[in-house]
């Protein structure tokens, strides 16, 4: 097993919003499972990637979906021409090699899938492979991280209390305006003035959350807009393309956001 393929090679840019880096390091030292919460595109995955780089640990990411079964995480027997062969799933691999296993958007997975992580996330730190009849003891460097977006909390999609209470948690949100401006300039090299204007439009969109928008304009979209502007696209066009059109089909909201763009970029 080649551990190095899972290493994060280059330092990802991450701008700390508070003490989260130090806190994560402490949690990792104690190998406590971590949960990162926050709206879409606010930097959850980037944070995990950055911490994996900083700690120099391999990172195995699994994007969860509702068709995913427990064996997609743990592993399964494959049929071969002359018999069967066991293939470890990503969770088992991570437990064996001592990687950070990052389950992205965990609520998307079905609840019977979610429970397989339970024995790994308490004092036992083991993963029973019942089909194979093996009990995998987690590597001392193994850590489980999950992310979820409480915004979707439709009643159908929430984590069970028994799952929630196995994790320490970080609550992420979109950064404060000054910080977000800094992130845009550092990530894309955009001039500070323009970046500040983009952030302002982002704020305008976030004010409409719950009034026709399910989610505000994310930092990720702001980065997209900044990238387009940096490549020479007209600022107003870039904003419409990256910030308005993706998030809404509602004509009134579009008109309002367009007006904000027109009055901000003159």
């Amino acid at each position: 097993m080649d551990k190095t393929q899972y290493l994060v090679k280059q330092e990802p840019f991450y701008q700390a919003q508070g003490k989260e880096v130090a806190l994560y390091e402490a949690a990792y030292a104690a190998k406590l499972p971590v949960m990162v919460k926050g709206p879409t595109g606010c930097g959850k995955s980037r944070f995990v990637e950055y911490m994996a780089w900083k700690l120099q640990r391999p990172l195995i990411t699994v994007a969860c979906n509702e068709d995913m079964t427990a064996s997609d995480l743990v592993g399964r027997y494959l049929l071969e021409a002359n018999g069967t062969r066991w293939l470890d799933g990503p969770l088992t691999t991570a437990a064996r090699i001592g990687a950070i296993c990052y389950l992205d958007e965990i609520v998307e997975a079905r609840q019977d899938t979610t429970v397989v992580i339970h024995p790994l996330t308490d004092h036992r730190r083991v993963l029973p492979l019942d089909k194979k009849g093996e009990l995998v003891e987690a590597h001392p460097d193994f850590q489980l991280v999950i992310s979820y977006n409480p915004g979707y909390q439709s009643l159908m999609k929430d984590l069970k209390q028994s799952t929630k209470q196995r994790f320490t948690a970080f609550d992420f949100d979109y950064p404060a305006p000054e910080l977000e401006t800094l992130i845009l300039t550092k990530e894309t090299g955009l001039a500070e003035g323009t970046a500040a204007k983009l952030v302002k439009i982002g704020q305008v969109g976030r004010n409409l959350k719950g009034h026709g928008l399910d989610e505000g304009i994310s930092t990720r979209l702001l980065v997209y807009a900044a990238t387009l502007i940096k490549r020479g696209v007209d600022a107003q066009d870039a904003c419409r393309m990256a910030l308005v059109r993706p998030i809404t089909d509602d004509a009134d909201i579009r008109a309002t956001l367009d007006h904000a763009i027109d009055t901000t970029f003159v």
Binding site: D67, T69, S71, R76, Y77, L78, L79, A81, V204, G205, N207, L208, H211, G212, D252, I253, A255, T256, L257, H259, A260, D262, T263, T264, F265, V266
Partner: protein, 766 residues
Amino acid sequence: MTTGIRTVADARQRAFEHPQVQDYWKAVDCGFAQVADVFEECIYDALTSLHKDEMAAYVEAARLLGKLGRGAEPMLVFLQEWPSVAQSVGPGALEPVVLFIKAMQKSPNGKAITPFLQTLAAVARRLQSAEQIENYLDVARELMVRTTGSIHGHHSTFPSPGLPHLFEQAPFLLNLLPLGGLKNWVDYGIRNYSHHPERQEEYFGLKLADSKAVMQRERRGTLFADVERQLDLYLRALWQDGDQLVPYSTAFDELRKPIPYFDSRGLRVPDVFEDAGQIGGIDRYRAVLAHMVGHRKWSTPQIADNWSPFQRMAVEFFEDCRIETLLCRAYPGLRRIFLALHPKPVEEACDPATTSCLRHRLAMLSRAFLDAAHGYRDAELNLVVARFHALLQDGPSNTAEMASLALAYVAKTRRQSDQLAKVHFDDTVIDYRDDNRHLWQFIEDSDDEDFFDDPDKKLAKESEIVGLPPRHYPEWDHHTKTYRPDWTSVYEALHPSGNPADIDKLLEKHAALAKQLKRLLDLLKPQDKVRIRYQEEGSELDLDVALRALVDFKGGATPDPRINMSHRTDGRNIAVMLLVDQSESLHQKVGAGETAQSILELSQEAVSLLAWAIDRLGDPLAIAGFHSNTRHEVRYQHIKGFSERWDDTVKARVAAMDAGYSTRMGAALRHAGHYLGARKADKRILLVLTDGEPADIDVTDPEHLRADTKKAVEELDTKGITTFCLSLDPKADEYVREIFGNRFRVLDRIERLPEQLPMLYLSLTK
């Protein structure tokens, strides 16, 4: 030569100084002394705007009007008004106008000629072209032809009641409506009031609520009602202000135009904004809102007891500019809108020797504060502008600083002539600013007026609450394909209660049927299973997937191990609303002799059985009855709510069901739909139980309410509500398909209703 009664010859013989006027006077051949008195003046006036041959036509038309036999008035009005009409639209309009007058003269509408001519000049000023005048005449002709009444068929004998009123209101209407809008407004009046002369007069005299509402709908510009949501979003998104927006009417306040303002109950804005040059109506609304929000953010009230009105006005101008500077700082693009809406006073426009120039000075200053390229040379003005910008350089400054700057400026530039009564108003009105009532605080009561009773102490008259206030719904007019705004009033009330035991008895009578239903219900219940495919472990083998996997395996590829499927139960998610027609015809008896029952009783049985069955199934069900007594009183009676159980209170209401009045179904459907629309369910069903077609005593055209009901059903459809009609009218096939499409069933044997209604529901939701 005297005839004894009147001195006709005297006027004809009247001598004029100028020979040409004398010629014209001869040509009009007029014996009215009143005309002779003003004739010379009119001719001089006309000569300034008409050519020689046009003069001949003018005089000829006047002659004609004098010979109509309607006294001097039409001729007099024409002579006075025509020159100004010709000035606005050119002399080409004369021919169609004369033709129209002749047409009126030939019909019984001769009396309308004078009002027509009286307002023609004002109308022409508004319309500005001869073609437009012709269109205007077409609108009036249409009204005339279609509302002139007759007793015995082909002879027109009664004048059109609305025509003179239309002419009276025409200038006002055209001020607000484009010509197309006027046409729609007139059409509406003709269609709805052609058989009711008094109402027609009220409609065209703008005295009916209806005529005002239709006018409002046709107005030019951006209507508040159309952009309300956008403005709400604007406030919330850009300014984080979620306050209420309240429109005020701008149509009827001619003398004092209301100004936007805000108070504790919301932000008040006009009900319509026309485009102003480059700036659209929606941007004008945004400018108004931004300005008011700015005040709420940054202004603090000042104590104004010791300031004169002039000083207060100056402080308002300064503070408004500070607010706008700060707004532009937040959203630089607003400056373009403000500058386009802000008047640009010309520096020398006001003469301080004869006029009070304070407003003019302040408006110039206000322009200069906002517009760096103002170009004014006045030294004092430029000095203040520099000080203003210095104060705002490193921060928002505050109202008090602005006040002291304003007072200093007013003191320094004061002139004796500021006190003059003649005030220079041109280019000084900035219409997106509010009236600044929030800016002033008075410690002492005003001494303008003595209040012997403190108005606050007067006890508010307690209003009696009788039921819920009415809800208004529009009604569809199939002739014009438009809605009649707020046409019906629906009064909702709780259904009176009777004795629940009666219903239990009914149910007992149907015990056999209930047993049969129960079996059906049990069958229905477990059918709500959903198959989940692609499972590694499941209850059954999914053959399709298994075969595919086997093929892969034989072919040497890795097979998909997820070859099973399983089931999960999915709860029924259906909300039902049963709307029961309670019109008079329900009293009819069905059957003969001992077993004869009224349709009402049968309906009660059916409703009870259905409610019982659905209660067992667990679907949320609401029941309501309706009947109507004209559009002003559609009664909607609440029998069961979605969350109420099928218990004695509900049974008691069903027991007291009674019948009366008519069936205005569209309004009831809309009202029921607004409740059902608020339910969160996968499927929402509106069941209508009726015994006849929609009808009401104030509607003569049977097609009208059918078309409206059809429209209501379509509206519900777009909201995701399925409407299904169970009709007890054996002749329903003629119309029910037209209204409900394929979603209906006609019950031929009404006796079987109690059995059919629950069955129908079960089959619908299987």
